[in-house]
Symmetry: D3
Subunit: 193 residues, 6 copies
């Protein structure tokens, strides 16, 4: 039917053997394996350029795990809603698994992939995802009224800054992944069902 | 996080108790339970009007299981691609499970939900799904060249007729399901992973 | 200028001579001729597969002429508005004629073909057609608020179910007709002007 | 069902009595009545401002009846295709009647209103209308290749200039008519059927 | 990097030498040079056909400089907003310079080119440009409510007529300019910075 | 006419006084002032969170000034084309100035803001910007054929990786800037005209 591609990306990139990577990244990859059971392919792809890998992974960790008024699950919900709107296969697979994990509600992960609008969400989460989709699909049409809806749903201005940055981040990675046909690690599919 | 709705649809419809249904439907529902482990909610919803249930289920069975040059998996692949384009939660869940089952490739079900364009499909299946999406999204722009691409991929004119009818059918059911917020049976999520 | 095609569809389909059809359909076609002055080409096209013709025509008759809180004209208005949005030539011609007939207002048929938004409709009909177009164009964006607008315009939940099914039905037939370049019977053009 | 509006536009404009108009326009209106059987409402609307009426009607007459490599029917076909894409009720009614008249093929008028893509047109007319729709819908995406397709279909560079101006003109009038809810004279509907 | 085209349009048109033009136009061009420091290329292009040049320039002058409740700056703001939505290079350059000139706020010209929604405008100007963009992008969706918003912002019905005509005019010229790759005079770029 | 906002963003964020910033950032800001004549507002906005400012500025510098087969001007051209498609005022202003600077062709900066398709670009730059816009507008539709067009225009696979990352980066920053109504420093407008 369908042939599973055996590439990380469709580009011919000089991805080094893992034991040729700078030691920091060897350690980082070991931690990934311990925590996730794999080294995500996105990190392998960026490892072709250690300077890029360094800043990319720092930005990712800062936005997804740094101090914030948003819970980790909320950040992952944004990741999946944005990636669904952009049709990014890699990010829907990887972050869909994360929503299943953090919510302990496997259906929620699928629902945000398929159409978050049908989910019976709290007013807070509905406002958060509505903003995520509007900013993703029509960034030029965001007005003060849109920011106010987030405030009305209980978000502080610092939270809105974080929401904007996380939405922005997945609009970046979705496009990198789609541009190069990045393949998610097959392990994600069975996780947290 | 998310509250699983306990309704079949968001409408207040006179769905009868199962033992009040005409005997044919009681038998039909028993067969569903035997084969699928459940009575799909779409059939329960239509059972409020036995005449509608009768014609709807006959059309469904004719198009999905009647004589055709298309395999059952191919028909289910169309169902999922169309339902993904239309953002129909019910049909992506129910027919995504069917693609996982018939293909024995769970990832294929997810891939067509998330973005069928990234899948490494045969030329036949690529042409079939490209036509499905064009007919779904811009039905007014279908030209002879589009039909010819199906012929070039090996489909007969009778196959094209069947493809058109299956694409049409899911454009109908997607809209009925979305219009009434039809909820898929929770059992689907775990099937054929 | 323009050459009238002499085909029923652009596909090479095994449409049988009328006297080779099962007797029920010969009778059905005779009734059509009596009532409409012709056998609609859509029925001739489906007659290549008697099982399909049977379920298609039963679904059509159930939705358009079965018990419902919607008048026949209202169902035809939905048919034309949906078909206009989808750019389906066959259905705009055939059901445009029906709106001219049932309304006895020829301009109303043209208006719904051209842009129903300009018509001075009752609040009930405006709400009905607004829902039809939203469900046709962005089925993934239908929310409870949309259903509520129909209730506010006086429709019962059973009416909404019927509206959803009729909208769905024309989203199916529009795509079948466009996929195969189905040609309307030339007789329609002059009817009920 | 539907209430025929009795206004020319939805705006409260100082449209003068006909006998108060400058004499040139009284004559012009008399000619319209003789040739068309009516004074088109668009002219009545512009008559509130004689200076505007003067330049508008001169531009209209220059583009539609001036020297050109395009036949009058071709100019009217462009008018209808553009007006259909823009959903302009007034212009579809008025110029649809003109296509029926000049082509002596009533179906052609309806076809261009409903979806010109299904018409079996000559390569020249197909290229002309494809250009009209692309320039109407995505003017920012016109490239040299689009102009070349017109040349390949036999149009001279002067013809292309005329085509561009006629497409432009209806993109203007469509928006004026829609902005003010301009109503076509009821006489158009029955003409040239 | 980029090669400045040396054509007025991409078409091969019989544009006459200036001293072969009818005397009225020679005078008109002299006035342009005096006031603007150049003869705008759009006038040179139309000069291939004196009858067209005559009506085009009269309509332009009537709409942009005739009696109206709209200031010249307001008319130019509409010109730029519409031209930005349509991606018309010629008109954004030429009328962007005019907004810089009339407003004496160079940033305002750039802002309307780039995204008028971010500008802190008066309610009157916001309503005017919102209407301009809606009428430009979705002319078929204009309703009485849209006209009412203009009235609520202080515009009279005669003003709305003028707004509609100016929006319409740039929807015409944008398409003519894009269709023929009309190049703005290089002088515009440095004006009124 | 228009009131210049005096905020950096529309959010109430704890942006520290410059002399309270960690010393590295004080130095970084001093370098900006020396080189650009200002500290870009985007850096001031991020300075509310030193950890974010650190990774954001490193990613920016890596992508825009790190080793690559793309020239700095090419990266800036991508920045402006993407920002124009997304309607981001901040980035069009800031990077439009950069294109004017690096190209020494002020018109090129305006052209990419207004509609890059009209520019007479080399095949390399046309392919690069076409890819940028397709990845920005329809990231789900990128196929191997799109990557191949970049290769055919002379880009290596490593160049494509860089192109993808720069396009992604501006799809991130455009959304952050639009989400928070970030205002560009007024100094940009007059630079490099």
């Amino acid at each position: 039917m369908y042939t599973q591609p055996d590439h990380i990306t469709a580009l011919d990139l000089p991805i080094p053997e893992r034991d040729r990577l700078p030691e920091t990244f060897q350690k980082y990859f070991a931690i990934c394996e311990e925590k996730l059971g794999m080294v995500p392919n996105v990190l392998k792809a960026y490892s072709q350029n250690p300077a890029q890998l360094d800043v990319f992974s720092k930005l990712y960790n800062e936005l997804m795990f740094g101090e914030s008024g948003l819970s980790t699950l909320e950040r992952e919900m944004i990741a999946v809603a944005v990636s669904s709107s952009n049709g990014c296969y890699y990010c829907q697979v990887a972050h869909g698994a994360a929503v299943r994990e953090y919510s302990e509600q496997p259906q929620l992960g699928e629902m945000i992939v398929m159409n978050y609008r049908v989910a019976e969400l709290s007013a807070r989460h509905r406002a958060m995802l509505d903003f995520a989709i509007k900013l993703t699909e029509t960034p030029d049409r965001i007005l003060e009224a849109d920011r106010q809806q987030l405030r009305d749903a209980g978000f502080s201005d610092s939270d809105i800054w974080d929401i904007a940055n996380i939405i922005g981040f997945y609009n970046m990675t979705n496009r990198v992944a789609s541009a190069v046909d990045m393949q998610p690690n097959p392990e994600y599919h069975a996780l947290h069902r």
